[in-house]
Amino acid sequence: MKILVAYKRVVDYNVRIQVKPDGSGVITEGVKLSPNPFDDIALEEALRLREKGLATEVIVATIAPADAQPHLRNGLAMGANRAIHIVTDSAVQPLTAARALLKLVEREQPGLVLLGKQAIDDDSSQTGQMLATLWGRPQATFASKVDVAGTVATVTREVDAGLETLEVDLPAVITTDLRLNEPRFIKLPDIMKAKAKPLETIALAELGIEAADFLTTTHYAPPPKRSKGVMVKDVAELVALLKQKGLA
């Protein structure tokens, strides 16, 4: 079984994003870029399934500008067998991304597609679900545990009410939550080895999909600031303030 992992490059989670003063976007110049943390977890899970003998090959794929090759090399250094780079200069919206990934799915015929449950830049949380739907295959979102046996995956999902367990027939799409695993650190020799691994590039336009970037972003704004609070010196002062606000 092959596993396809969608592996997005995003602004690093430690960066405090600033909105441009003219509201035309956020400042990304000179900002550190990293793999989407949820996609790292997806890749780690794929590698563990391969290490258990449940998968034969792990493919990482991204949709990004030409300068994203080091990002894919990072995925290869972590342990993926090969990489596919769908090249485009513009940011694609989730439905377009899902249509592009479907093309790779049709070509590669993976038994499992793993993606992060959301990308921490646009926070959409849509692509995995859209891919499963277009593909006509099961989805298990927000996974915190994945067991593969034969042609079935048993997946525990983190939902608002607790933990839900689903059984899905393969092939399927699974999106990964934080507690599924802890991604491994990349070792220096693996970075060297990754340079020799296959990395294929395809222009997004060559996939022959209909773009579906229907949403237009017209304005960016910083979030409303909370007004500066007060520091109290003891519990009595805290309780007095709470009572004053009618909260205690």
């Binding site: 949380s125 607790g162 839900e164 367990t165 949403l215 960016y220 709470l242 909260l247």
Partner: protein, 313 residues
């Protein structure tokens, strides 16, 4: 004229309050508002949905396959129901986040996630980068728009004087068998539900153990509050995952939020930004939580929390 379809979220015959928050967003968009209830047993949930002010009709789809909220089952039915509607809204909960993109994909339309404000019927504000930027997005007005509604941004619409008409719908939609529900493990609690509680007390890593969390529960009970936790406390195994507050957990907007032993990573702050009053108790006076707290108290939580509980007595 907009025609808005809201998909009800429910569990064990009880309508989730997030549905009434979607009604508030729908009222702001403006138009005729219908709620769809997809369930095995629709009656109890439909009766609750019909009470919400501003709702003119409740559509019910009763099918055995709808016993559990599985996206693979619900999405094809919702896509069919969506015909003739300008907007389809679901709450931005794990239920809505799971199902809505499938509906959008079936309709071949875009989805706006986490709708937090309405500029006009097709222009909305939503957060990106963990709420560190708010964008205005415009969707084409000639297509159905699918959106998830960020519950913390919208108060719930109260019940109205009259009850909406309830109409059973039979849908001729073939459903897959490739996805099967096994079980739901739910922490039973008599405390107020975290997502709708007007007061919430949360504990962080500084509690140090599951046992020590008892002082959080005890304070919460004194305040009549729900109980939450930081990601660090959940990861450390002090409390179950459904108590996590933050970017990847629950995003909440209680009137009072008390953060105890929580340093305040931006991912946690994202989950509480809309709270009315934020109180922070932490031994580190430089902790980021104090940057957004309305009232801060520096000190040892193991001394201060029992003292606070007593003082509220």
């Amino acid at each position: 004229m907009n025609k808005i379809l809201i998909i009800a979220e429910h569990l064990n015959g009880t309508l989730n309050p997030a549905t009434a928050r979607c009604v508030t967003a729908a009222t702001k968009i403006g138009g005729e508002i219908h709620i769809a209830v997809l369930a095995a047993d629709v009656d109890a949930v439909a009766a609750q949905a019909a009470q919400i002010a501003g709702v003119s009709k409740v559509l019910t789809v009763a099918r055995a396959e709808n016993a559990h909220a599985l996206a693979a089952m619900l999405a094809p039915q919702i896509a069919k129901l969506a015909e003739g509607y300008s907007h389809v809204l679901l709450p931005s909960t794990t239920f809505g986040k799971d199902v809505a993109p499938c509906v959008a994909a079936l309709l071949g339309v875009a989805q706006v996630s986490d709708l937090m404000a309405v500029d006009d019927p097709h222009t909305f504000q939503r957060p990106i980068y963990a709420g560190n930027a708010i964008i205005s997005v415009t969707a084409p007005s000639d297509r159905t728009l699918v959106a998830t509604v960020r519950p913390a941004s919208w108060p719930a619409t109260a019940n109205g004087a009259a009850s909406a008409a309830i109409e059973a719908v039979a849908l001729d939609v073939a459903l897959p068998t490739h996805t099967r529900f096994k079980e739901l493990q739910s922490g039973k609690s008599d405390r107020p539900d975290l997502q709708s509680a007007s007061k919430v007390v949360s504990g962080g890593r500084a509690l140090g153990s599951a046992e020590a969390f008892s002082i959080i529960y005890s304070l919460a009970d004194k305040l009549g509050a729900g109980v939450g936790a930081s990601r660090a406390a959940v990861d450390a195994g002090y409390v179950p995952n459904d108590m996590q507050v933050g970017q990847t957990g629950k995003i909440i907007a209680p009137e009072l939020y008390v953060a105890i032993g929580i340093s305040g990573a931006i991912q946690h702050l994202t989950g509480i930004k809309d709270a009315g009053t934020i109180v922070a108790i932490n031994k580190d006076g430089d902790a980021p939580i104090f940057e957004i707290a309305d009232i801060g108290l520096v000190g040892d939580l193991f001394t201060l929390v029992p003292e606070l509980e007593k003082a509220l007595g």
